[in-house]
Symmetry: C2
């Protein structure tokens, strides 16, 4: 067994730990909170499913970003999007996580995976912007489908949900309109605090 | 909201149920069994990570297969690979599941997702063969890392594990050799019954 394959296998085993990183959102059956690994899959599926709303972009690249984007949470944990303190320290914690985790890989793959993660985080390329829109859609959808459970548990208002999600989904206007309408309806139904 | 987007969103919510489909393998921390959604992510990550061992194939297509390949388990459940009765009825159950689940999608995407799933199941294209090899590697790795827990729980012998996994990984010879060596070592350590 080459040292290269050994490093790749070690990384794959380490990546398994993403399945133990809990997010705030609940599954649609409300049996438990979602973890970051299954979210990454659901997100990748949504990118594939909804690509027509992203205009002209490289789907292959966006899928790779979806697969890699949350790996840093193995060390840094999931930072709740409405937690201001957590958001302040997020970049530093995630950067250290990227150094350690991607640093387990052979050099070429360290660079490749890190570049995918950084591109997603920077949110500048069309691929990253569409991926970001879909990454925001997923928890909004699960929150809505679970009667706003995570929103209510954390006392999040409609204004905060709108501020966080609507500008971030501008790269996919139909998705943005859908989220806006869903949030209006959620407020109307009492699922989300006005 | 268009009826097309409505169908896609309904499908995405239905897909969420894959997170509740338990496999036989345990997570490396042994806290619980793995589910099919997080496996799909881990598998997609492994396809991306280990592509150099697959020779010349279309990685983009293989990633799409990894994302879609287990969706039918929402209805058909996970069929344990060493369960002969389950394997006999698997094709019929999964075909019915594909009809219902992919049938929720707009026609063009029904055809697209179904074709990805069928290509993976047929195992004929290079993409499907490499994906299959990696789909086999993942549970072998988790079983080994958890002291053979699922193998032991189900009384699976080394001969059955070899018969099931070695021919299926022929498209990636280095991965096949790695699995063969890992199984030998597992037997030596008493993790897997000779």
């Amino acid at each position: 067994m080459s040292s290269r394959l050994r490093a790749q296998i070690q990384f794959l085993l380490e990546a398994d730990r993403l399945k133990a990183v809990a997010r705030r959102t609940y599954l649609t059956d409300q049996s438990r909170r979602e973890n970051a690994a299954e979210h990454s899959w659901h997100f990748a599926l949504a990118v594939l499913l909804l690509r027509e709303y992203g205009g002209d972009f490289d789907l292959f690249r966006a899928l790779q970003m979806a697969i890699v984007h949350d790996l840093v949470e193995i060390d840094a944990g999931d930072t709740f999007v409405y937690d201001a303190d957590g958001q302040n320290s997020k970049a530093e914690r995630e950067n250290a996580a990227a150094n350690r985790l991607f640093g387990m890989l052979p050099d070429d793959q360290n660079r490749e995976f890190r570049a995918l993660w950084e591109e997603f985080e920077a949110g500048e390329s069309r691929e990253a912007q569409f991926a970001l829109a879909i990454d925001r859609l997923c928890p909004v959808l699960l929150n809505y489908a679970t009667g706003g459970r995570a929103w209510k548990e954390h006392g999040v208002s409609a204004a905060r949900v709108r501020n966080y999600n609507l500008p971030a989904t501008a790269a996919a206007p139909e998705i943005q309109s859908f989220i806006a309408a869903l949030l209006d309806f959620a407020v109307e139904k009492g699922v989300l605090e006005a």
